[in-house]
């Protein structure tokens, strides 16, 4: 196996991607970034100070919303936005009506 990649070309391009990444990320307002804290998927950490994970809605949220993608901070969206997104996720993830309602209530209380 011979590695014939043009290393210099790669480095240049990676540098460019890095710069554009920073530029794109910089486009978000401070507020948006602050809204998304804490920025780790750890369920325990995201839920910290919000509500104990053992209660109905929070537990269903932690169990269901990590199945396909990282969990987003409840504070990242408003009540109204969570209503629409949860409707979207109910259809996409085939959630039951119970799961839909309990998770929505939790998110509205925790955001």
């Amino acid at each position: 196996m011979t590695m014939r990649l043009n290393i210099r070309n790669s480095m240049q391009s990676l540098f460019l991607i890095g710069i554009s990444s920073l530029a794109l990320h910089g486009c978000k307002t401070e507020q948006q970034i602050a809204d998304r804290e804490p920025d780790t998927t750890s369920i325990a950490q995201v839920g910290e100070g919000v509500s104990p994970i053992t209660t109905g809605g929070a537990k269903l949220w932690a169990e269901n919303c990590i199945r396909c993608h990282n969990i987003r901070n409840p504070a990242s969206l408003s009540d109204r936005q969570w209503e629409i997104v949860l409707h979207h996720m109910r259809v996409r993830a085939n959630l039951t009506a119970d799961e839909h309602q309990s998770i929505l209530e939790f998110l509205k209380a925790a955001n």
Binding site: I17, S21, S42, I84, A93
Partner: protein, 457 residues
């Protein structure tokens, strides 16, 4: 205050009436006797004393109110009133209508440097419009705007990834129609958005180009989820226009999933059934059955696609982080038909074939049209690490493969190893870097480096 005013009023009245009585009456007609004067004076003095007492009591009460630390002071009350006015104003300004509208989506820029090819950048932005018309009715659409530079030439592509409406019929059934991401397997419907996919590209069997499964379909669906004791199950079935068989060119024998005009009256019927014995595990079986005969083709061909998928996602104390395991296996079985052989230069219309058949069978190409492919992917993110930097890192490995019919033109079995490292800036913003090694049966192996920056917004 009010009592004070009343007393003052009464006293003034009393005094005035005395003066008026004394001055206004003609002398001799109604003069006030000494006794009367004394009585009035006494009354006046009594009232005066009472008023003084009331005044003092009131001053004491006011003083007590001002000294009481728990109660609001007047300036505080004024501030509260102003704040209340302001909140009322804001609420009025942001009052919603009946329907809900939300724009979300994702964007990415990707760099690919593949051995034997020019390196290139790709940029895509894919806005998603969510329109909730009622508690039950949702319209969702995704547009994908792509910018590609290939061989120095710039291209812009716009694709309608999906556009469909869904209606929640009851707790367990949702109906929908339009162009939707096909609920076949899990990659297309659940994992393909760039902020969800843990590597910069799709597994070989699941791409838009050369993949074995439909990524989106045009038709109608019914779907939902329900509990079974402590476990859970979900389903999604659809009826769609379905794919058509490519009967000429390089991809002869493959299925074209991107044709949106139905090619015949036979719809494709497919779906997926998922089962979650525990919340962390999901097992799925998918199928799609369709007649894939293109119009004008003189032979009939059916296709049966099947797949199984397994997901395991958990945050493990033992391993100190989030484990994400995915496995998908796809089988595609298309009826064997005779295609016009490419090298003879007759691969134009299906109609030509009969002539060719009369001339001689050596001009026809036929092979056992069975394909399979899949991938196994493992990702680990040390979410419980004490170091913030490590908590944001994710390590991913994927093995993907594609087995193609040996008699088909330009169809070579291949497999690919991908190793990736991701850095998550927040739950939906990620920088991915991956190294790939691809082996092609009977061809040269090649390596590639892929990098991607992606945002889900």
């Amino acid at each position: 205050m009010n009592t004070t005013h009343t007393y003052i009023a009464l006293i003034s009245l009393a005094l005035c009436s005395g003066t008026v009585l004394g001055q206004g009456q003609p002398p001799g007609e109604a003069t006030v006797s000494r006794a009367e004067h004394q009585a009035l004076k006494k009354d006046f003095e009594a009232l005066w004393a009472e008023m003084k007492a009331v005044r003092e009591a009131q001053a004491d009460a006011e003083r007590a109110l001002l000294q009481d630390a728990s109660g609001p002071t007047w300036p505080e009350l004024e501030r509260i009133r102003l704040t209340q006015d302001m909140i009322e104003q804001i609420l009025l300004e942001t009052k919603y209508g009946e329907s809900n509208f939300h724009v979300t989506g994702f964007a990415f820029t990707r760099f690919t440097n593949q051995e034997g090819e020019d390196s290139s950048f790709t940029a895509v932005v894919a806005p998603i419009i969510l329109w909730e018309l009622s508690d039950r009715l949702l319209f969702e659409a995704e547009l994908e705007f792509g910018l590609e530079t290939e061989d120095g030439e710039g291209k812009t592509e716009v694709e309608l990834e999906y556009a469909h409406a869904s209606y929640i019929l009851n707790d367990y059934v949702t109906l929908g129609a339009g162009k939707f991401l096909t609920p076949f397997g899990i990659f297309g419907e659940r994992l393909h958005p760039s902020w969800i996919n843990k590597l910069p590209d799709a597994p070989m069997a699941f791409g838009h180009h050369g993949g074995l499964v439909p990524m989106s379909s045009l038709g109608a669906y019914v779907r939902g989820g329900f509990p079974i004791a402590d476990a859970k199950a979900n389903y999604a079935f659809y009826l769609s226009n379905g794919p058509s068989l490519n009967i000429e060119g390089h991809g002869v024998g493959t299925l074209n999933f991107e044709n949106f005009d139905d090619i015949n009256n036979n719809k494709a019927f497919g779906g997926r059934i998922g089962f979650l014995p525990i919340p962390e595990v999901e097992l799925g079986y998918s199928f799609q059955f369709s007649n894939v005969t293109p119009s004008g083709f003189d032979q009939q061909a059916d296709a049966l696609l099947q797949s199984i998928d397994i997901s395991y996602v958990t945050e493990s104390d033992l391993l100190g982080g989030l484990i994400d395991v995915r496995f998908e296996l796809v089988f595609s079985d298309v009826d064997d038909v005779a295609f016009a052989a490419e090298e003879e230069g007759h691969a134009e219309e299906g109609g030509h074939m009969e002539e060719e058949e009369e001339e001689g069978l050596e001009e026809l190409l036929t092979f056992n049209n069975e394909r399979s492919g899949g991938y196994f992917q493992l990702a680990y993110r040390p979410t419980k690490s004490d170091l913030e930097f490590l908590r944001k890192m994710e390590f991913v490995g994927r093995y993907g493969w594609l087995d193609l019919p040996s008699g088909a033109p330009e169809a070579f079995d291949q497999n690919r190893w991908t190793l990736g490292v991701n850095y998550w800036l927040d739950p939906s913003t990620v920088f991915k870097l991956a190294y790939e090694h691809t082996e092609i049966d009977g061809g040269d192996d090649f390596d590639a480096i892929k990098a991607m920056f992606s945002i889900g917004f």
